[in-house]
């Protein structure tokens, strides 16, 4: 295997899980997440020769976000799947599962753009100006979006039709 390829394999092994995780947070759907993360890495590899010394992770992240936001314009397709729906939690449910369910439902109550802002700002820890640039929105939009309240983890999450602005502590 060429040295370039070895470097890409090392890069992909190090960051693919994180990209996949981010894609899942952005889409809320396992299949779309896998498609988006794979697309991001495919395009990163296609451009690897010029990228490898110039922040390939940032490039892959930007491709991921662009791919997901481009998908907002396409009609949603239902995927036939053999996956068994997640089993109902047992009485002694793990905190992590509860927390994840809360998170996915809470993110699902946001608009797609709000969800992208939250993920870029608090998962990728990008500054507001970078979030604004990647999503092609104003910094003001980013600031106001990060003020959107999420339901408390202690209470049952409910879907909001029209989110209202309020300060997060």
């Amino acid at each position: 295997m060429a040295r370039n390829d070895e470097e890409f394999v090392e890069f992909a092994q190090a960051c693919s899980a994180r990209l996949l995780h981010a894609a899942y947070l952005l889409t809320g759907d396992r299949h779309r997440a896998e498609d988006a993360a794979q697309t991001a890495l495919v395009r990163t590899y296609a451009a690897w020769r010029r990228l490898r010394n110039d922040n390939p992770y940032g490039y892959a992240r930007a491709v991921l976000v662009n791919h997901v936001t481009d998908g907002w314009r396409r009609p949603l397709r239902e995927h036939a799947t053999d996956d068994v729906p997640e089993r109902p939690a047992a009485d002694d449910v793990a905190d992590a599962v509860t927390q994840r369910r809360w998170l996915i439902q809470a993110l699902g109550a946001l608009t797609r753009r709000e969800r992208a802002v939250i993920v870029l700002r608090y998962f990728f820890d990008l500054p507001e100006t970078s979030v604004a640039r990647e999503l092609n929105v104003s910094v003001g939009t980013v600031k106001s979006t990060t003020l959107v309240p999420l339901p408390s983890c202690a209470s049952p999450p409910t879907r909001r039709a029209n989110p209202r602005r309020a300060a997060m502590s």
Partner: protein, 238 residues
């Protein structure tokens, strides 16, 4: 712990029981195909042995431009000789569709190709020289996971690719007439059906000069003038 801390903690908790792992070998294989396709689209049009060209089946030669009225099947054409195909992912599926338009002394044509990396069809815009050599200039397709044969418009694209401003895509369904607005003016597209599937209608607008206005309001009508399902009728801009 603040709400923000709770949010960050929840965001960073890895969902291992939901997501699997990506196949890196598959990623690299698809990445190599994408890299070759990008190199192909940037290649010069000199017809040499090292130039990427396409296999073209022997067909009857027909230089007539596509008809405006009716719904003609793509005219059968005959190549002088089959050209070597160095990129199987761009092999024409079915017949090559002439547009009647000329760019830099070559014929602008379209053809359909199957894309293994997306599992969808792609519509390739290419220039064909006097020897039948095809040089791809642009390709548009639906992404992986999208039903590329669902009723309606698909992969509508507008932009520049060394051939002035090209606007094209395809429609799935009995479209007898396809229109779009350019700067508020309604323009009718030229169209032809794909020889492999007559439900797939490739459409294009005559090459327009810059300043004609961005295309919008892509609409299809059946033979009785009734509006057909729109599908994905937005344009991707290149």
């Amino acid at each position: 712990m603040t709400d923000l801390d709770t949010l960050r903690s929840a965001l960073h908790a890895p969902p291992r029981d939901v997501l699997g792992a990506l196949d890196i070998e598959q990623v690299m294989s698809a990445g190599r195909r994408l890299r070759r396709r990008r190199q192909l689209l940037a290649a010069s049009t000199v017809a040499t042995a090292t130039t990427a060209v396409f296999a073209v089946a022997a067909m009857a030669l027909n230089t007539a431009p596509a008809q405006e009225s009716g719904l003609p099947t793509a005219s059968a054409e005959q190549a002088a000789a089959a050209a070597h195909n160095s990129d199987p992912s761009y092999t024409p599926s079915g017949e090559v569709i002439p547009t009647g338009m000329r760019v830099d002394g070559k014929d602008l044509v379209f053809f359909v190709t199957h894309l293994p990396e997306t599992g969808t069809i792609g519509i390739v815009g290419a220039l064909r020289d006097q020897f039948g050599t095809l040089t791809a200039k642009v390709i548009t397709n639906e992404p992986r996971g999208v039903d590329d044969r669902s009723p309606g418009f698909h992969a509508a694209w507008t932009g520049h690719r060394e051939i002035s401003h090209l606007t094209y895509g395809y429609y799935v369904g009995p479209a007898s007439k396809i229109t779009a607005k350019f700067g508020g003016r309604t323009v009718e597209a030229r169209q032809a059906t794909w020889s492999e599937d007559p439900q797939v209608v490739i459409f294009w607008f005559d090459l327009v000069e810059p300043g004609a206005g961005e295309p919008s309001h892509l609409t299809a009508y059946d033979a009785d003038g009734r509006r057909l399902p729109a599908g994905n009728n937005g344009f991707t801009r290149g």
